[in-house]
Amino acid sequence: MFEEYKTLYLYRTKQYEECLQLCDKVLKDKSDRMVEFIRMRAMTAQVKVAGNGYEEVDYLPYQESLTSTAVAKTPRPGTSFDKKITTAHLTQANKRISATATLRTGVNAHTARAHSARTALHTASRASRAATAIAGGPAHNAPISLRILSKDEKNFIPAAKTLFEYVFYCEGDIRKAMDIAFQAQKADVTVDWWWNYSLARCYYTLGMYRQAEDSLRRALKQNKHICIYLRLIAMYVAINQPISALDVCKQGLSVFHENTSLLIEQARINEQMGNSAVAVKDYRMVALQDPSNMEAVANIAMYNFYNDQPEIAMRYYRRLLATTPPGSEIYNNLGLCCFSCSQWDLILPCFRQALFFSTDPPSKADIWFNLGHVALSTGDMILARRCLQVSLAIFEKEYVRQALRALDTRLRARKH
């Protein structure tokens, strides 16, 4: 008889894996409404964590989730999303250092354009992922409540939200989820913003951005919740309307002063539009509110670096190095900062670490390119040439090829 208590405690302490096992055990012997709901909730929470369901903003680069269709078995640590952002931005830093200012705008323009195409693909992949996440589970876990519970029953309204999230995330059946939402809206006498917000989620997944916008606007009239603002921003970014997105940011910030998530969104949009100076102002505010925000620190560092203040950038990067798990980008950027600050003793160790941690060929090639730059500044043309050759051998990049050509002509000119 204590199993109910145990499931409740496991659920409250968010030990979902154990909780689900216990639920299955309990439900084998008897049917218990509460345990059934707990099981539904636990499953939903697991899938939500695995499928990034808690992130309202999902327009960030998702190469990883696109490539891997594998089911995330264990929930990712809550901060992993942050880490991804920093790396994404840091790699952008790599690109910029290696190219001129013109390339920088080119890169930005490219990302801005690529979004709309990517999101459609991405939402599809996400929906399927949510569905597959639970498909691996035991076959008998079909929600009994869902089949028994009709919309006329009296506890349909309290159960509706649980059911909706279960259907939306675990079953991945958007139509069914929308059906629940409409029924609940009809049955409930009071207006609930959450239903509009959830309908917007459905529309967004189906790629119907206009309807999503309408629903979100309606929800925003009923309750000013931060989730709605974030969804609205994400939606505008998805349909490539950064000005509207910035407008929503401003509205949200007038309600929630100095809210970090809104500030970060505003900064990201500004950054993507090329207003680095405005973006860095927001990033600074974020860093004041939440000094542990890696994305903000990384961006401030990057801004300083490009603003000809490598010493300050280096301090930020050193802080990042102390607080985050080490990665190739951080060492690469540190190496570049050392190089700009003439800290010659640290340049090569930094780049060596960067090479040690780097995994993908493009970033490796970038690191070698930067090393070539360092070698060139020491006057060691042969080493510079070697570095560039290694870079080319790892990954073909046009600017590396150009640099090598320029270096070769220079070497030849010297010989003659």
Binding site: Y9, Y11, K14, P75, N155, K161, W194, S292, A393
Partner: protein, 845 residues
């Protein structure tokens, strides 16, 4: 993420026994409070299963005050003044079917055994509904003592005073019982519903609700409500000022802070999954400067401390934590108490002095400079190969060549009688067709994407199919095509080149060449011996002459014998021109005799080839010496120049005809236009003269076109003659000269391959190259150069330019042959031999 880690100050891990429960710890079973009997510091009440423990943490000690076993499992521990008689706070313990109120007693020890603590049950009350949690406080502003509210598993609220049941409230919109809290300052209850909303009722309302629930269809509207849109996992209430309390609620990803009147103070969006939180006040609530801080624990066991929305501190908790609280101990004010999943209790403090760069371990292994140098060189080599494109290709060519074996063979000429019947008999030559078979064997067909085979021959030979593409090569491919004679021109080149263009799987293109000699029987027949010939070319061999039957294997031996009149003499007749050529073999000398030069070239090439082949087969080293007389050479050059002249003259004729055609065509269109105007005019004019003109022009047009066709044919024939004599020159030069550069220079200069059926602008090409050769390689004065330079204003084919061109060519050729003869003369002078001849060694091994 942060630099910092909490520092552990005290833990019960040592005395803790794991087997007491199933690794399931109820988070509500921890209570920190101060008791009169231990008034110097806080005590921690902890229960696991049905064990109750009381700790008073002290540095370096176990500090367990009490350990007892209860009858049933413990759901929750709270403290409060439930009886109200004694000054001390009582302990209430919630079991599934009852609650028991205890009092803590301390007995002073008489001996060294120390103090003795025990708890004494005061009130025990049973109820029917199974409980989930309880909340207590001075409900309804009761002054004397605290009342008790128990939430059961089916989420009804039962209210008790000591051991008396007061009333019960039922909610039908709670599926999973959630947290219930009481706000003492304003006498409010916070209930978390399954609609994911917080509802706040006053105590009075709940009392009325209990009565209302008897009467149906009456709604009770809460004081205020907040729709969080996510499940609220825990709620805490803290008094923050004289008038107000703060309600802190933790959702799935948000932390909400309200005032008890429903005003939202803050919302923090967390980007991690929170497990639990604890809020506390620094300073006293009645002081204006009191600060409300919230500690939140994430699922990756990190601790975040917020004030408002600002993050003040973040650190690592080191262990998984399910519940967190603060305690005030004698030697550690403001310690952080954390409860682990299996009942491990730790008291920590926020440490500073971070361990900087804990993850960094530099990879600085010692290195040997010499070894590195060697490695560097090998790397550089491979880098060069990768980056330099052309070098990579040479490797690939050998690869492809290694995998592909190509054999090309020519079969016997076959008379194609079928087509002969079907077609007109005026082109008899075309029916003798010679099959050409190419066999491609590939060891690794995967390496090759496609192969294109192109056959190249010079007129008058033609192919039935000049190109062939093979897309997928598997194993061996056999491709057959047929060669035949197209017209009756002179033969220039009897070699056939086969060009293989191979695309390998990486997309690189590789080309290979093969060349094949056509059989003699395709273009020659054996004729009666013709003995009187004007021209004679001798070939010396340092061996006795072979029987021709061994050389001309294309023909049947009986065929040869049958027609042979004189010993070792044979005469061939060209199928194309009908001219004859006679070969004689005597002692150590062969001689080729004919009336004209064009005939000699192809037979000479064929004969030399066959002779070499024969000796190669029989493995005899032999020296072949070509001995043309100077007279022969001069005649040959003369004939060559003559043929060029004929060719250019024919070309001029052709050019004139083409110009005429152009004029006539223009004339024709003009007449047509006029005629159309006449037709269209009203009334129609007289059209007869114009029509007559048009018909006449048309006749002239057709005539001139026919003439052009004939003229073209003549030009082609002249071109063939030119080419065949050119080939003869090159062949003789190759055989008598030792200077390979000179030979190839002359060969390239004459560029006989550029003569083709539709491309007869040979003079233009050779004028350029001959001018280059004469200027660069022949030491001549500027005057001579000027003399021979073509006149710019006139075309190459003009009389003066042609004259100069021929002169130049003659000079070059004569010089070349003279040089050869001079050398030979020097050699032969020693021997006393005055005959001008040349010697060329062809080593055959």
């Amino acid at each position: 993420m942060s630099l910092f880690k909490v520092r552990q100050w005290w833990s019960n891990a040592r005395s803790h026994s794991v087997e007491t429960n199933d690794n399931i710890q109820n988070i509500a079973c921890m209570k920190i409070d101060k008791f009169n009997s231990h008034n110097d510091s806080d005590c921690i009440l902890l229960s696991e299963g049905n064990h109750l423990k009381l700790y008073k943490p002290c540095l370096g000690q176990d500090s367990s005050l009490l350990e007892t076993e209860l009858d049933d499992i413990v759901l929750q521990i709270e403290t409060g003044k439930f009886i109200g008689t004694s000054g001390d706070r009582e302990i209430i313990i919630l079991h599934p079917q009852c609650y028991i109120i205890y009092e803590l007693h301390r007995k002073g020890g008489l001996t060294d055994a120390g103090d003795q603590n025990h708890i004494e049950p005061l009130i025990k009350h049973y109820f029917k509904r199974r409980a989930y949690n309880l909340t207590c406080g001075p409900f309804g502003s009761s002054k004397s003592r605290d009342l008790i509210c128990v939430q059961s598993l089916d989420s009804t609220l039962s209210f008790f005073d000591q051991d008396t049941f007061l009333f019960m409230c039922m909610f039908n919109d709670i599926l999973i019982p959630g947290p219930v809290s009481y706000v003492a300052s304003s006498d409010l209850f916070i209930i978390c519903k399954s609609t994911w909303a917080l509802e706040i009722y006053s105590y009075q309302q709940l009392r009325e609700l209990s009565e209302l629930s008897l009467r149906q269809n009456k709604n009770n509207i809460p004081q205020w409500t907040y729709n969080a849109g996510e499940e609220i996992s825990s709620v805490q209430v803290i008094r923050t000022s004289n008038n107000f309390s703060s309600i802190i609620a933790l959702g799935e990803r948000h932390l909400y802070a309200f005032q008890d009147n429903g005003l939202m103070k803050d919302i923090i969006r967390l980007d991690y999954t929170p497990i639990c939180f604890h809020c506390y006040l620094i300073g006293w609530y009645y002081e204006p400067g009191a600060r409300l801080l919230v500690m939140v624990v994430s699922d990756d066991s990190r601790l975040f401390v917020y004030e408002g929305t600002t993050l003040l501190w973040a650190c690592d908790l080191m262990t998984k934590t399910l519940s967190i609280s603060r305690c005030f101990l004698n030697s550690l004010p403001g310690g952080i108490v954390s409860l682990g999943p299996n009942g491990v209790l730790t008291v920590n403090y926020l440490g500073t002095e971070p361990d900087l760069n804990p993850n960094v371990n530099l990879t600085n292994e010692p290195v040997d400079p010499e070894q590195i140098h060697v490695e560097l060189e090998s790397i550089e080599e491979s880098l060069k190969q990768i980056t330099a494109d052309d070098k990579g290709v040479t490797v690939d060519i050998t690869n492809v060549e290694r995998t592909i074996v190509i054999k090309a063979n020519v079969g016997k000429p076959v008379q194609n009688t079928f087509e002969q019947i079907n077609q007109n008999s005026d082109s008899v030559l075309q029916f003798l067709q010679c099959p050409l078979i190419v066999m491609i064997t590939c060891e690794e067909p995967k390496l090759i994407q496609s192969i294109q085979i192109t056959y190249i021959c010079s007129p008058p030979f033609e192919f039935t199919e000049s190109t062939k593409c093979i897309d997928d090569v598997n194993g061996t491919e056999i491709i057959e095509t047929r060669v035949f004679l197209l017209n009756e021109n002179d033969l220039s080149d009897t070699q056939i080149k086969i060009l293989f263009t191979i695309v390998d799987q990486t997309g690189k293109v590789v080309t290979l060449y093969k060349s094949v000699l056509l059989p003699l029987s395709l273009y020659c027949t054996i004729n009666d011996t013709v003995l009187d010939n004007q021209l004679k070319l001798n070939i010396n061999v340092n061996d006795t002459c072979l029987d021709f039957g061994q050389i001309f294997t294309d023909f049947m031996p009986d065929q040869l014998i049958k027609l042979e009149n004189t010993p070792n003499t044979i005469t061939f007749k060209y199928r194309t021109t009908g001219n004859t050529i006679t070969l004689k073999g005597k002692d150590q000398e062969y001689s080729i005799e004919s009336n004209d030069f064009p005939e000699i070239a192809s037979i000479l090439v064929y004969f030399l080839h066959k002779l070499n082949e024969h000796y190669m087969r029989s493995n005899i080293g032999i020296r072949l010496t070509l001995k043309p007389s100077m007279d022969f050479i001069l005649q040959m050059i003369h004939r060559f120049l003559k043929s060029i002249e004929t060719h250019s003259k024919e070309r001029i004729k052709l050019k004139k005809l083409e110009d005429d055609l152009d004029t006539l065509q223009r004339q024709f269109t003009v007449i047509q236009k006029r005629l159309l105007v006449q037709y269209g005019s009203l009334p129609p004019g007289d059209c007869d003269p114009l029509e007559f003109l048009m018909r006449d022009t048309h006749d002239r047009l057709t005539r001139i076109v026919q003439e052009i066709i004939q003229s073209k044919d003549i030009v082609c024939r002249a071109g063939s003659t030119l080419a065949s004599i050119g080939h003869l020159i090159v062949c003789i030069l190759r055989n008598i000269s030792t200077d390979t550069l000179k030979v190839s220079l002359i060969e390239e200069m004459l560029s006989l391959d550029s003569l083709h059926t539709y491309c007869q602008e040979w003079e233009e090409v050779v004028t350029q190259s001959s001018a280059y050769v004469s200027n660069k390689f022949l030491n001549k004065s500027d005057k001579d150069k000027e003399k021979l330079a073509p006149v710019m204003e006139q075309g190459i084919l003009s009389h003066i330019n042609m004259k100069r061109f021929l002169k130049q060519l003659r000079i070059i050729l004569e010089r070349v042959f003279e040089e050869e003869y001079d050398e030979n003369i020097k050699d032969s002078e020693d021997k006393g031999n005055k005959i001008i001849r040349t010697e060329e060694l062809v080593e055959i091994i």
